[in-house]
Amino acid sequence: MNVSYKRSIATSIIFGILFCFLVTFFAVVGPEHYLDKLIYSIISSVAVLISMLSFALMLLLTNKKENIVDERDGVIQKKASSVGLIVSLMYVFLLSIVLFVAYRNEGVLNVSWMWFIAYSTFAFGYFFTSIIHVYFYHSEG
């Protein structure tokens, strides 16, 4: 298991947990009440901050002189990033379309959905790209 593979697994865990937390938290609080209390925004922001700090700590702990990132790692990273970007774009598109269809008759959309789209896309993008990274490492030896 090389360092890129280990980092991908750690990244998928960190941002998978963040994505699940954001979805669950937003579902529990509800878009109508999300902006009622400042504490909700603070909790979500702290969750993102903790994830980013964990990610940075993971990079720091796995950054050793003897690490080798060779050409195969580069190829897999490029492929995973391309797939991750396309799927993230599809995620935003599908989410936006679903919201449009759901709220079309009401004529207004709660602004807290914008927050959710932003934060969840960030978490989903990192999570899915790292999962695809792990998949490519498995499928390509």
Binding site: M1, N2, Y5, I68, D70, E71, R72, D73, V75, Y137, E140, G141
Partner: protein, 67 residues
């Protein structure tokens, strides 16, 4: 593209890790090349051939040649 890396490694008494260190890549990459799951760049191919003391055409077999 088939290759004789495993055979030549055994001839030179090299492990995958030894070969990887000599050519500057990871053991996993050498393993993937041997299993024909990854095609190395020309530069890496030449480095591997040099370490194994053979011509690149002797290490890597282009598929048409097998026919």
């Amino acid at each position: 593209m088939d290759n004789k890396i495993k055979y030549l490694r055994a001839l030179h008494n090299l492990t995958q890790e030894d070969l990887a260190q000599k050519v500057g890549c990871t053991r996993q990459t050498i393993n993937a090349i041997e299993k024909d799951k990854y095609t190395p760049s020309l530069l890496l191919g030449f480095k591997i051939s040099e370490v194994l003391g053979s011509l690149i055409t002797d290490v890597f077999i282009y598929s048409d040649e097998k026919k």
